[in-house]
């Protein structure tokens, strides 16, 4: 009985030791923290209605509505967006295939007025998406190895204990020389992110306003990107989020881009 108790204690200690690096941030490196944030489970597929509200410095607003579908197929993640408003871009669709490997993303846009699907350059990642404050790169999955990550400190914001990680771009020509991200220790959600331009001046701040548990997964449903230099902002709200509904692979084809919703 005593032998069994000792064995149980030893197993408990071994498990405890095994778990220490997972629960204690002190031994996690900046890269490990960002990796956990990047690899946070978001489901095999997702459907949602996206509303983007663009607010300029005078307070005037423009609204863009999009229906989007995403599916993770392992080596490749496919997504398709259907633009609902404004009227001049209605029925336009955008499809992207992102690869885990070094291969460039494949991107196409269907322009209903021209009735044509065009392959577009993935070099446009630094372009702003539909005139918003989000670049295509801000919306996509940036690769872990694109930056050098360093844990700066731990800090509590909005009552949540966070790791503060600085990520410096390895590409000198990249539009952000560095970013600083506040990552919640409990769930590895990036709660806040600061983007610095080539002069190392603060350019934009991304704030997560709301995240929800949907189908057992934490999904960011309300975020805001503010350009502090030009004093305009974009809010992004997700509604009708559905996770793991087994979206068919055939959704991510030219047929569906042209057919629309």
């Amino acid at each position: 009985m005593k032998k069994l108790q000792i064995t149980s204690v030893l197993i408990a200690i071994i498990f405890a030791i095994g778990f220490i690096p997972e629960v204690s941030g002190q031994s996690l490196t900046g890269e490990q923290i960002v990796e956990k944030a990047y690899n946070r489970a978001t489901g095999d597929d997702q459907t949602s209605d996206l509303t983007m509200t663009l607010t300029n410095k005078s307070g005037n607003q423009r609204i863009r509505k999009i229906k989007q579908f995403t599916k993770d197929l392992g080596e490749v993640e496919k997504s398709i967006m259907f633009f609902l408003t404004p009227a001049d871009v209605k029925n336009t669709s955008f499809m992207s295939w992102s690869y885990d490997s070094d291969q460039n993303d494949d991107q196409w846009i269907y322009l209903p007025a021209l009735k044509k699907t065009k392959r577009i350059s993935s070099d446009s990642k630094s372009d702003y998406f539909m005139g918003s404050d989000f670049t295509y790169d801000d919306l996509g999955d940036r690769k872990l190895e694109d930056d050098t990550h360093k844990l700066l400190r731990e800090e509590t914001i909005d009552g949540k204990a966070c790791y503060v990680v600085e990520s410096v771009s390895k590409d000198e020509d990249y539009m952000y020389i560095k970013t600083i991200t506040w990552i919640i220790k409990d769930n590895f959600i990036g709660l806040k992110k600061e983007f610095y331009d080539e002069d190392e001046d603060l350019l934009k701040i991304l704030s997560i306003k709301k995240y929800e548990e949907i189908s057992g997964l934490l999904i960011i449903t309300n975020s805001e990107m503010k350009n502090v230099q030009k004093n305009h902002k974009t809010s992004m709200v997700l509604n009708n989020v559905q996770i793991n509904t087994s979206i068919s692979v055939s959704k991510f084809t030219e047929r569906m881009m042209m057919r629309g919703l």
Partner: protein, 410 residues
């Protein structure tokens, strides 16, 4: 006039019926005004109302797209750009009715894109979404993964629309005496025998997108059969009779686009078999001669400093060339496009140009547009024709203009 009224009444009735089904309705209203640099004439005074009515379900969808053009007089021109039904099945779709079909990877150049003919009544100036004419057709698309096999059957030819004699875009044929025209052979009866068939296989892959096409069609441009009457006594030309007639044409071709290090590389080519060309050879009957020709393009799209750039080189080569043919043996053209968006994509700067390398002429089209809000925009632009007056663009050097478009989208 009665026919127009009837069409309008039918359109209104159809709209009422469609609205009762709660369809999606969108469109635009636009004012378009153009002034010639040469003499200050308002060459374009046009108001346009475009209505796009559609309803889509899992198995069936319909679309109606009437466009109403109002000109400086009270004249109205109603165009039904599209009116079709879509039937969706598991692996294939069927589209029946009047429709516009766009093929190929070229921008502003029509090589394999020959299903929907062009409306050239205002030369190449209308937006590319308005320059095509709808065709009455049945389109069958069969899908295998990311590839599509497409067959289009057209029971009736829809010819290319050319400018009327009153238009500034009309180019009068250069004849020593005034010709007479016989249009009796221009019309082709819709029948099975006279049908047009187009087939295409296309695929969209992670490495490359490509299309392979073939067509047994009619030449959308009528061939001018010219019969001369010569006085045997004086050997002088005394009569000239011109009979426009469409002829059969077989076409095979393909296109591709791929990305290489952030640059989109595009290519497109078509081989036209049995096209009739005008000739000055006196031994050729009706002053025409049949030849094959190749039309191809290579293009690049890239981004530098946030500016979207695109350039294309286009060549048209007539095989087994005869020096009496009116067209050049080799005709080279380039296009260039630059576009830059500012102020959170509300201010757009664009420059598009065709450059004729064979005749050293060009059409240069700068424009600037501003979106006041999500529905209202203003565009200021210019169409500048320069170069050799024998060239395709240089011949219109007196038609250079400045124009404005006010547009409300709904």
């Amino acid at each position: 006039m009665k026919t127009k009224r009837l069409i309008l009444i039918l359109l209104l009735m159809a709209s009422q019926f469609a609205i009762a089904q709660n369809p999606d309705i969108s469109g635009f209203a636009r004012n378009y005004t153009g002034v010639l640099y040469d003499n200050g004439d308002f060459t374009i005074l046009q108001n346009t109302f475009n209505l796009d009515i559609s309803k889509s379900g899992d198995k069936i969808a319909f679309k109606a797209n009437p466009m109403l053009y109002h000109y400086n007089s009270d004249s109205l021109n109603l165009r039904l750009r599209e009116l079709y039904l879509n039937l969706y099945f598991n692996n294939f779709d069927l589209r029946i009715g009047k429709q516009q079909v766009v093929w190929g990877k070229a921008d502003g150049v029509f090589i394999t894109d020959i299903v929907s003919p062009l409306n050239l009544t205002e030369f190449l100036l209308p937006d590319f979404d308005e320059i095509r004419t709808g065709v009455i057709a049945t389109k069958f698309d069969y899908y295998i993964g990311n590839s599509t096999f497409e067959v289009i059957w057209m029971p009736v030819i829809t010819p290319t629309e050319t400018p009327p004699e009153s238009s500034i875009w009309y180019t009068a044929p250069d004849f020593p005496i005034a010709p007479t025209f016989d249009y009796s052979k221009e019309y082709i009866d819709p029948s099975l025998k006279n049908s047009e068939v187009f087939v295409k296989y296309s695929a969209m892959t992670s490495k490359i997108d490509f299309e392979i096409m073939g067509a047994y069609t009619w030449d959308d441009y009528p061939t001018m059969h010219i019969q001369k009457t010569i006085d045997p006594a004086t050997m002088q030309l005394t009569g000239l009779n011109i009979t426009p007639e469409h002829h059969r044409l077989s076409v095979g071709g393909g296109s591709f686009s791929t990305e290489i290090k952030g640059v989109i590389l595009r290519g497109e080519a078509a081989y036209y078999n049995g096209k009739y060309f005008q000739t000055e050879d006196p031994l050729q009957i009706d002053a025409i001669i049949q030849k094959d020709y190749l039309h191809y393009l290579a293009g690049l799209d890239f981004i530098i400093g946030g500016v979207n750039l695109s350039t294309q080189f286009i060549q048209q080569t007539i095989f087994d060339y005869d020096k009496n043919i009116v067209n050049e043996e080799i005709d080279n053209t380039m296009t260039f496009m630059a576009r830059y968006d500012l102020l959170r994509e509300t201010l757009h700067l664009e420059l598009f140009s065709y450059i004729g390398l064979t005749n050293n002429d060009a059409l240069i089209r700068p424009k600037i547009s501003y979106d006041f809000d999500d529905s209202f925009s203003i565009l200021l632009g210019s169409n500048i024709f320069v170069g050799d007056s024998d060239g395709r663009f240089g011949q219109y050097s007196e038609n250079s203009m400045i124009y404005a478009k006010l547009k409300y989208n709904f």
